[in-house]
Every structure is written in C-alpha cells, then in structure tokens.
Subunit: 323 residues, 2 copies
C-alpha cells in the first residue's frame, strides 16, 4: 500500500500489549467492592469473559494511532509528565472504546436480538452465564468505560477527560451505535436503498470506529486546527464504512472458523448487506474506494506523514483483512 | 420533623419543573441524527416512554438539594456566569441520574430479570415496544446520561464535568447499581444475613441515591472540606438504605395501584427483604433510625442549616412516604 517501511505487526504488538494489560487491570480485576464485600463473582466473570482474550482490538488501535498522529512536537513544548498524562488518557480511551464495543456484542448476541451462540470462537456470554448476567455484564461494562476515562487525580487535563466522555457517549448512544442497532432491527427483511444502508452502518459500526479516531485525536496538548480535525473525521468515516462493507463481504466469503463467529448469518436472517445490494464485485471495489478516501483525508490533514503511518496501515488492514 | 418553615412541596414543584423540561428537551427530543436522517422512531419513543411522565424523581431532587447545600456564599465570590454554569451542571447531573435510574428499571423489568409488566402505572417498556427495543432503549439512555453531563462549550469547569462522570459511572457500575443487581439475582430464594442484605441494597439502590447527593455536592465553586464531603456521604448512605427499607415495607403494606407497580412481588419471588428478615415493626423502627442518622450527618456537615433544608425534608419524605 505504501512505500514507507512502517511495520504494522510490530507497532500493533507493542500497542496491544499495553491495551491487554490495561484491560485486564481495569475490568473488575480487583474483584472487591471493599475489603469486606466481594463483588458478585458471576458479574465479574461475565465482564472479564466478554472483554479479555479475544477480538482484533481495532478500536483501541485506532485510538492509539490517532494519539500518535497528533503528538507531533509535544516533546519540545510539554514537560514529560504532561506527555505521559496525555498518553495515559489515550490508553484509557482505547480501553473504554473496547469496553463499549464488547458490551454491544454481549447485548447484540442475546436471544431477543441476534440470538447468536458463537463469538470470538467461544460461546456467547448469555450462553455461558445466562441471560440476566449477560444483560448486567453489558450494562456494567458501559458504565466502566466512563469510569476509566475519568480517574481521580489524573495527569491529563480535565478538559481532555470531559471531551473523551462526550465523544464516547455520542458514539455509543442513540445518534451512534445504539441508534444504528435500532435501525438494523427495524430493517430485517426490508429492501433498503444504498443510502439507507449507509446511514445504518454509519451509526451501527461507523460511529464508534470514527469516535475512536476522534478520541485519540482529542488527547492532544492543544485543540487541533479545524482542518486537521475535519480530515481525521473524514478518515474515520471512510474507515468505519469500509469496515462494514468488508464485514458484509467476509460474511459470504469466509467460514465460521476463520471469522470466530457464525458466517452467513446475514443472509440467513435476511438482513440487507452491501453484498446483497451491490453484489460482490462492486462491494470489493467500493471497499478499495473507501480506503483511498481515508488515505487522501490523511494527506490533507497537515499532519506529518511519519505520524500518520499507523493510521494508514490500519485502514489498509481493515480493507484487506481476511477475518 | 423540623421547626423551620421550609416548604418541600413548593421547593419540589419548582425543582421538578426544571427537571421535567430538561429531560423532555434532552431525551432524544431532536429526533434527527442530522437533517437528512431521522433517528429511529421506535428507539426514540422507547427512550422517552421510559423517562418522561412518571416517577418521583427522587434522584434529581437529591442532586439539586445537594447543589443548594454547597452553594453558600457563591454569589459574593463568583460572577453570575460562573454560578449559572454550576447550576447548569447540577441540572444536567440531576437528569443524568434519572436517566441511569430509568434505564435500570427498563432492563430490570425485562423477562430475563424480574419479568414485570407494570411500572409507574403503565405497561413496562418491553411490553409496549418489545424486548429488543427495551434493551436498546436502556443502553441508549445510559450513554445519554454521560452525554448530557459533558456538553461542548459548557459554562461549568471541565473538572466538574469529569468529576460528575466519575461519580455517576461508579454509582451505576459493577461496584454500584449493576453490582447490587447481580447480588440480588444471585440471592433469590437464599437466606441472607442482615449484613448481606445491607450490602446488596447499599449497591443496588443506595449507590445511585448516594451518588446523586455527591454529584450535587460536586457542583461547587471549590472542593469541599473533607469533613463536609464525609458528612454528605454519610447522609447519602443513610438515606439510600432508608429508601430500600421503606420500599420493602411498602411492598407488603401498600397495594399496586398506590405504588404504580406490582405490590407483593418480593414475597412472591421469594426475595429476601428487610421485612422478611426483621419483621415489620423492627423495619419501621430501623427506617426512623436511618432518618435520624441522615439528619445528624447534616448537623455535622458545617453547612448552614438554611442551605440543607431541602436535603433534610427529602430524607423525611423518603422515610415517611406512602408510595
């Protein structure tokens, strides 16, 4: 994709080591409400089961890549504690985005929604722990996302914390992920136009992916120029939509073992998809077009090319992945 | 209860007028994702149905009463815009606490949890809109709570916004409300000790009531002295527990029409309650004892008596209510 020597696997491995450690530390790990009262074991286990040991962690990687993209020149302008504070805020945002994603999967898999039994190659949370615990685990994961964004005595500025909460809440809520799922629910068996399908996915999947990019970008020493923010916004929108187009493609071209979830379920549930609407070839071409849009947006961002390499490589990975 | 002339009905009416208007304005009222894409109608309706037109609004009243308690002397120390910013933050916190409460009722009523069909005198959300929409409406209400706490360009300091998010997330999450519900779920049909019952209720109901008090107290011009914060913490804990003791009492002494929800369901579901554990007389005495604890804490708070009158009257109302 690119002529630079950027090594995404190495970058991802390092980034994911931090994310996995932080998730394990923060997801109900203490296990005690206070010294005398153990937190309910089933809830804790359900939460950890839903979050740990699985998933591509695309949202955390986008947060950390976007933080890297906006960190230019900080070392000379800030003291090291301030830089560390922003890095910590970004790591928290990365984990918070993953917690929102994880909770949405738990709830989406429940019998009253998609009624799926396989996720990330394991039984879904409600199969493993029962429906009531799955409902509560999802609810508690959403709350935890906002809790880890706002630690007491944080080194990051409070304005960054508040902005991260706003971006995440908007991405998760009725104008974002939850809204998209409601449209999805209402559109089973319906013939959607391409515009309607795009609108659904822009909310259901796109909002949190784009929100992850914007959260990373919010972990900057000072507010970004509007043009840069708009460029990252466009990158996030194109990448978010591309992710869903490729998801629709893989649903018909990959098998369940590769995906770690039930393949072919969109068609089985008569859900509208890009493949059902555009056909396979045009869907593949559309995914490449969205990748080009994402990369062009970064070119126009005024951010140094070196700093945006992880964002570029992630967009390439999203479009050219096989699972 | 008190010799002062404080008029709770008048105070509540004025406070609730602000809360109801704000909730109606903020709960998916715009109804559009953007000009071209209407938000999914069923989700919007489910959210509004769950929140508007019902409920005692105890949590919002506690937030606003606590804000009033800590606003002493602001007028001379701050300009009017700063005071208005803190008042706005408190109104947002009041509504956010109610949104968390409302979402928890929606999820708690679902078939996999309490399977209740009547709430606030109306069919529950899943009866009215279906289980999937109820699940999503609850999820979207939780996200909305954090969204309204963190408006862009707020007049309140960002540190207040971040603190409100932290307090609300902690009160709602695995160490608060969701954790308490998980304990509740695990304890049906079990013989709990009084200590275990207290622990369950401290989380399930108490955490959000106490959190509401602490959110109101966080809307202060400067951090409160530790003794004052501790006193409000004690007040919130006593009031939160008293609320549940009285709830247990009313479950056996009141009828469904008065309660606006199904009476006698604790006994029917073989749930441990204060009445089943202590008997009715000792439960009534315990509620009065908790009221005394709450009022004593306010006496020790160093806050002027005049400013704590609403908090005092609310504690009295919680313990001596009939529905």
């Amino acid at each position: 994709m690119s002529s630079t020597a950027f090594d995404l696997p190495t970058w991802s491995t390092q980034a994911l080591a931090r994310v996995e450690q932080a998730l394990s530390d923060w997801v109900a790990a203490g296990g005690v409400v206070d010294a005398e009262h153990p937190a309910p074991a089933a809830l804790r286990e359900g939460m950890r089961y839903a979050v740990l040991d699985g998933g591509k962690r695309l949202r955390p990687l986008l947060v950390l890549a976007a933080r890297e993209a906006v960190a230019t020149g900080e070392a000379s302008a800030l003291n090291s504690a301030a830089v560390a504070g922003l890095d910590d805020a970004a790591l928290r945002a990365a984990c918070a985005a993953e917690l929102i994603h994880a909770y949405s999967l738990v709830h989406d898999d429940m019998p009253c929604m998609d009624n799926d039994i396989l996720r990330r190659g394991k039984p879904t949370v409600h199969v493993q722990f029962g429906e009531a615990q799955a409902l509560l685990a999802g609810d508690a994961l959403q709350a935890l996302a906002f809790e880890i964004l706002t630690p007491e005595g944080a080194a990051a500025p409070a304005s960054v914390q508040a902005t991260l909460c706003r971006l995440l809440a908007q991405a998760a809520g009725y104008q974002g992920m939850a809204g998209g799922q409601a449209i999805d629910l209402a559109s089973i068996g319906m013939a959607l136009t391409e515009e309607e399908l795009r609108c659904m996915h822009r909310l259901k999947t796109g909002a949190l992916l784009q929100g992850s990019v914007m959260m990373g970008a919010a972990c900057a020493a000072r507010p970004l120029p509007l043009a840069t923010r708009n460029a990252l916004h466009t990158y996030g929108a194109a990448l978010g939509l591309a992710f869903q187009v490729v998801d629709d493609i893989l649903d018909v071209t990959a098998d369940s073992a590769t995906l770690g979830k039930t393949a072919g379920k969109d068609a089985a549930q008569d859900k509208p998809t890009y493949v059902s609407l555009l056909g396979l070839d045009r869907s593949l071409a559309y995914a490449q077009e969205l990748l080009a849009q994402a990369l062009t947006a970064l070119d126009a961002s005024d951010l140094p090319h070196t700093n945006t390499q992880a964002l570029r490589a992630l967009a390439d990975m999203v479009v050219n992945r096989s699972s």
